[in-house]
Symmetry: C2
Subunit: 346 residues, 2 copies
């Protein structure tokens, strides 16, 4: 990216969202402005708590601002009720800063359902997008694979999967620099006829879409990196996302059990520790930062509740990239093109 | 199990099913009869090929018979067409031996779709079971977790999930000796209201079923071993089954890549090799043998195409256990009890 001439991007960061808020949020913001230029961060939330954290760090204080929001939406709250009741929450106030163009993007590691619903409600949808989608990168044997949708949408219609494919393709191409990304439809067999009612109908739409659609893929193809973009209903996408999160847990437990069997095993596991760490890094969501909500009129990134400072830094950098790449303008234009061939009943 | 007085169980084994047939089938049968008693095996398929394999082993030849079937259903064939056309295949002939009670159970590592369809067609269903189901064990941090359904059924109705729960509960209890197995409904959040149309309706049925239903579970709970039986539509179950199979592949690739970076890494991975092998054993389907098809009037076990001799032995032992436990009689009685409270529309 060329330095000097680029415009400064302002990120609105929900400082009260994560499990460890505002500690990791503040540390992530400080880390980002210390290591990069061209990005300012507005920390939204309870000023006293945020400022007491900021005092622990040294940084260019012209680049990190604090914006008041006295309410906090908790993890366990019902998204719709919380949004209605807590209009002065860091989530709603932070999103409004983005809506009013005081910020170019919004990030939160808070209650995922609430962040999705509030983003959609506050920012609105890109024209012709029926349902915004959350995509998540998965670890792969080779290359980049992003799965859309991983939780925003259940009971999808075929046209929703087509839209996920369009948005996913734009994202893979403009954020990861992949030329004409390959798209796979997650199913239970490679043949066109394999699948459920949703996927067999979606297959027809994808085939005619002009996207680089390579056909059905199976569960194992996600980890193999067979295609760049995997599309599926948010129910199955969310299940495999959480299943993948569990892989790290089971490996840790198995190694621990193995080590506890005898002293020789303990030594072996000790020696293997660094190797495992290097290898399992890929299963660590902190590396990926967060998941983008595509299809809303704005840039909204949702972090894991347990996001580390590094994860927040990665989310801020991803948000910057999405803003500079003008992702939404491209999605709007591609969705418009593709919608023209879709039957109204799909 | 008490020795001496027990009846001999006869297993009909499709000797032409797997990728490496009849090599692994024959070796698995020989291994079983050499290590156990009370089990005889009928190898069904092309006599010449089977006998030439048998010649490589020494065993009690009163316990392994060969039964002729000159046709073979290939992996790539369409299940319904193959079954219609190839009535003299090892699959159909082997199943008929079971149907006619010349054998107590049937095992095949052939074309999964064909084995399911032919089992259902030849053996019929247990009374009141609307859809038979395939269940698969998953590796867990602690305890036994079996997921139903993993591939037989897509576009399920709520009552199908209820039936999977009943069959899964009987299986976990009578095969794995778990007292009153816990049942979880796979969904995208723990709360009752989280899920799609199918799961929110299935929740209502499960709650009233009298089973030990503990509510929704998420993707990560499968690997954690949170419940003994996880029920879901066969689409999502099949996706996570294949996803889990991919975990072993990605770990192998990552270790290889790590080792290739430099000589120190290579040494570290060499030292870690045995540890990894011990730990990853749980992700190896060969250990589990195969997956049972529950709900058909008989015992039918489906193996992975790449099943090893050990996997065949494990399938034979599992089939024996299912026969001796009279699994189907118990399922029939439980399904009858539970169907009484289900509304006809579910």
């Amino acid at each position: 990216m060329s330095q000097g001439t680029k415009e400064t991007i302002t990120i609105s960061l929900d400082a009260m969202g994560g499990d460890n808020a505002p500690v990791s949020e503040v540390a992530g913001a400080v880390e980002t402005v210390s290591e990069t230029d061209g990005i300012n961060v507005v920390l939204v939330g309870q000023r006293e708590k945020i400022e007491s954290e900021l005092k622990k760090h040294s940084f260019d204080n012209s680049r990190i601002l604090v914006h008041d929001a006295f309410e906090v939406i908790e993890m366990h709250e019902s998204p719709t009720e919380a949004i209605k009741k807590k209009q002065n929450s860091s989530l709603i106030v932070g999103l409004k800063l983005h809506k009013e163009k005081s910020a170019d993007a919004f990030i939160s590691a808070g209650n995922t359902g609430a962040v999705m619903a509030a983003s959609l409600f506050t920012l609105g949808r890109i024209a012709n997008v029926s349902r915004p989608t959350i995509g998540s990168r998965f670890p792969t044997e080779r290359g980049i694979t992003i799965v859309f949708d991983v939780g925003a949408n259940v009971d999808c219609k075929p046209v929703n999967l087509l839209e996920f494919a369009v948005m996913g393709s734009v994202y893979a191409s403009h954020i990861f620099g992949i030329d004409n990304p390959t798209i796979g439809l997650l199913s239970v067999g490679e043949e066109k006829t394999k699948g459920d009612l949703l996927t067999t109908e979606a297959y027809e739409l994808l085939e005619k879409s002009g996207l680089n659609f390579t056909g059905n893929v199976e569960g194992r193809d996600v980890l193999r990196g067979t295609v760049n973009v995997v599309v599926c209903d948010g129910f199955v996408g969310n299940v495999i996302l959480k299943f993948a999160e569990g892989v790290l847990g089971i490996l840790r437990t198995k190694f621990k059990d193995y080590a506890e069997k005898n002293i020789l095993n303990k030594i072996k596991v000790g020696l293997a520790h660094g190797t495992m760490k290097g290898v399992m890094k890929d299963f660590d969501y902190q590396e990926y930062g967060g998941v983008p909500l595509l299809g809303v009129s704005g840039v909204s990134i949702i972090g894991h509740g347990r996001s580390s400072p590094k994860a927040f830094k990665n989310m801020i950098l991803r948000a910057e990239q999405m803003v500079r790449a003008k992702i939404n303008q491209i999605i709007e234009s591609k969705i418009k093109d593709i919608k023209e061939f879709v039957p109204k009943t799909a």
